[in-house]
């Protein structure tokens, strides 16, 4: 005598239900990962990958702040660069005028006229030194509110800004000073070996020229050496600004490359591999259909169908 099934009827149904439910759940999981595009629905599906994803997403957010900081630094450096180009032009113009004043053929009146022009240049330089940064603060004053330089009763300028310029973190553990302080740009040594600044130097030449006499020509001759020193100071400072700009560009390129690498990794770690998932879905649905067919076939096999007629 043979029996169709060695197990009890209720356990046959329980087992069939468990198997079908398990397959159904797997189909659901794969389906969900395909439609959402995410490989995992909860962090507990793969804690390692979830931790990686979290940190990478945090780095993405940090990177966007760093990019904004780099842009801000670049903007300020470009403003400083432009101001300093203007300063160089002014100093060159002052040199030309002083060269004229140094020749012996000019009259006192002509030297006084040149002195007036130099005063104009002095004012222009002062306003350039008091330029504003992207935030509306003193560009060459370390970011203080208001002016970097103030003029005293004698017409000399005094630096009132911060001792150093502002530093901004631009990502990758790097930071950059977004400008230079006034003294870093304008401080110089005059022909007499005294420490002074470009604005005062031009001011004193202008005063001497306006005063006239033989001293005016001597002042102009000495002033030429001083102005050359001043030009050196400003152009050196401008080189520093230029190299900072290219340093930021380099760092930004580096960050962009890291962003690309991170995006690729995020995709690898967290995104669904659609082709693999689709094949798995096909495999699972085939198994599910086969199991359902088996269940229908087996459950219809009962001795009660065949006896008692």
């Amino acid at each position: 005598m043979t029996t169709i099934s060695s197990t009890s009827t209720s356990s046959f149904y329980t087992t069939a239900a468990e198997q079908l439910a398990s397959l159904q759940q797997q189909v659901g999981t794969v389906d969900n990962s395909i439609s959402s595009g995410n490989q995992f629905t909860a962090a507990s599906d793969n804690p390692e990958a979830a931790a990686q994803m979290r940190m990478m997403q945090l780095q993405d957010a940090t990177a966007s702040v760093d990019t904004a900081s780099a842009n801000k630094a670049t903007a300020n450096l470009q403003l400083a660069d432009a101001s300093m180009t203007q300063m160089v032009n002014d100093i060159n113009q002052a040199k030309t005028l002083t060269t004229q004043a140094a020749t012996g053929t000019l009259s006192d009146a002509q030297r006084a006229a040149i002195g007036t022009q130099l005063s104009q240049i002095q004012n222009d330089l002062l306003s350039l030194a008091n330029a504003r940064d992207a935030n509306g603060n003193a560009l060459f004053g370390g970011g203080v509110t208001g002016n970097a330089y103030t003029t005293d009763a004698n017409g000399n300028v005094t630096y009132g800004g911060a001792a150093t310029s502002q530093t901004l973190a631009i990502g990758g553990g790097q930071s950059v000073q977004t400008s230079l302080t006034g003294p870093e740009v304008l401080d110089m040594t005059d022909a007499g070996g005294n420490s002074t600044n470009v604005i005062d130097t031009i001011g004193s030449i202008a005063t001497a020229l306006k005063a006239g006499g033989s001293a005016a020509q001597t002042a102009a001759q000495n002033g030429l050496t001083s102005l050359s020193n001043g030009l050196d100071a400003v152009t050196t400072a401008q080189t520093v600004i230029g190299s900072r700009e290219s340093w930021i560009t380099l760092n930004t390129q580096n960050l962009t490359a890291q962003n690309t690498v991170r995006a690729t990794e995020e995709s690898q770690v967290g995104d669904t591999d659609v082709s693999t998932a689709a094949i798995k879905l096909q495999q699972l649905t085939t198994a599910l259909q086969a199991s359902q067919a088996c269940f229908v076939k087996l459950s219809s096999l009962s001795l009660f169908n065949d006896i008692g007629n």
């Binding site: 029996t3 507990s44 804690p47 009962s302 006896i307």
Partner: protein
């Protein structure tokens, strides 16, 4: 002896009828939970000869001595044990998943990142009021998300404690019922044979109820059982060496106490119980993990507040005053922004003038937070929980397979197979018909003997 043949046939017909009844009962209860397949125990009746004659033949037919309850106690206890383990794993997974979603959905991790980033952004324009407002806003979002996490954890804790309390009261109800069943089993023990499986239909039904109660108790806590000769059962909670829960007809009450850290302890009388299975053990495990997570969150929230506040005190705010504390509170549940004014952020070095664009203190603050690495700590906390959920899920899957297998082998041994019953139905129907035929034969023989005497 034709009258004897008639008696034999009658006993056969009765036995077949009882067997048919049992088959019918089995078919009717094929889907009843806890029903164990019965069968009739037929015994040959051979009365001793009154004359001590050698080779005497004295046959008296068959009798049904009782009902056999086809339960294998090993398979039963195995199914109960694995079921208990699975219930524990399931409760652990469900509790830990709640903890995981409570912490993850609160968005603490993202909020910490946003707060740090807005501080970094503030360096771009330290005197800008909107940048300062963003920092305050992100700070208060972070504080709120800590609070949300703490609240979610707290309500998860309440839920888990409720499940423990509910499980304990269920166990107490079930043990009372079991003691009642024990009483009845002891009372009806008298005539039936204690050692064998043969019993009365009443006792078989009581034993079904007894086993079903044991199954239910083991869903809440792992138990060790000792079956007495009268069929009653003694239960020890938490294993063989655990305190007795049911001894014969007396029960001991299980009670749960909430500890100061929110975890639950169990006692029977004065004896502490450590469970190794059942849903209560799972709830307890989840509560322990929840407590650890909650402590970690508290210390993270506190360390962020301390770091920010300490650094604040070293700097000068927008008004030129020494920076005041930005955060108040020392736990995840109590942390909050102490100010709503963006100018309170001390970005400048201590002693700076009002509206200073100096970022010395801000840089120090961002670097102190960078060293503290709260996002990294939060990531570790989250990974820890999700790792626990993952390993608990793996354990649960394994135990589920084991308990399904145990339940399946118990069911194939003790459960009803309709096909077997169909065969029995035919078999006993034929036996009944055959006994009828025997009666007819006895009648024919008797008639022919009557005819003999009349002629």
């Amino acid at each position: 002896m034709t009258s004897n043949l008639l008696a034999i046939a009658a006993s056969g017909a009765t036995a077949a009828e009882i067997a048919l009844d049992i088959t019918g009962q089995n078919i009717a209860n094929a889907s009843t939970d806890g029903y164990v397949r019965r069968s009739a125990n037929n015994v040959e009746v051979a009365s001793a000869s009154s004359w001590s004659t050698a080779n005497d033949v004295s046959l008296s037919g068959v009798t049904v001595s009782g009902i056999v309850r086809n339960a294998d106690s090993f398979l039963q206890s195995e199914a109960r044990r694995t079921g208990s383990d699975t219930a524990q794993a399931t409760a652990t997974v469900s509790g830990l998943t709640d903890v995981e979603s409570a912490v993850e959905n609160s968005g603490v991790f993202t909020a910490i990142g946003a707060f740090q980033n807005s501080l970094t952004s503030l360096a771009q324009n330290p005197t800008d009021s909107s940048a300062r407002a963003t920092v305050i806003q992100d700070g208060s979002t972070m504080a709120s998300s800590f609070q949300i996490a703490a609240q979610s954890l707290s309500s998860t804790r309440t839920g888990l404690q409720g499940e423990v309390t509910n499980g304990v009261s269920q166990i107490n109800t079930l043990t009372t019922q079991l003691a009642a069943i024990n009483t009845q089993l002891s009372a009806t023990a008298g005539a039936s044979s204690n050692a064998s499986d043969v019993t009365t239909s009443d006792r078989a039904s009581l034993m079904d109820q007894r086993d079903s109660l044991l199954d239910q108790i083991s869903q809440y806590a792992n138990i060790a059982t000792t079956t007495q000769t009268d069929g009653s059962v003694n239960v020890n909670l938490g294993g063989v060496s655990g305190p007795p829960l049911v001894t014969g007809t007396t029960t001991n009450t299980l009670s749960a106490t909430t500890n100061s850290d929110g975890t639950e302890s169990l006692t029977v009388g004065n004896a502490a119980v450590t469970l190794g299975g059942g849903s209560i053990a799972g709830n307890q495990a989840a509560l322990t993990k929840l407590n650890q997570t909650s402590t970690n969150l508290d210390s993270l929230a506190s360390s962020i507040a301390t770091t920010v506040n300490t650094q604040q005190a070293n700097g000068a705010d927008l008004a030129g005053a020494t920076g005041a504390a930005l955060f108040s509170g020392t736990t995840a549940a109590t942390i909050s922004m102490a100010t709503t004014s963006g100018s309170a952020i001390a970005t400048a070095a201590g002693g700076s003038a009002a509206k200073s664009a100096d970022t010395t203190n801000l840089t120090a603050l961002t670097s102190a937070l960078g060293t503290l690495d709260p996002a990294g700590t939060m990531n570790t906390i989250l990974t820890d929980i999700s790792g626990s959920v993952q390993s608990a899920t793996t354990t649960q899957t394994t135990l589920q397979t084991l308990s399904s297998a145990a339940a399946s082998s118990l069911s194939s041994q003790a459960g009803v197979d309709l096909n077997t019953e169909a065969v029995n139905l035919v078999k006993y129907q034929q036996a009944f018909q055959a006994s009828g035929k025997v009666m007819q034969t006895a009648n024919d023989i008797f008639t022919s003997i009557l005819n003999l005497t009349s002629t």
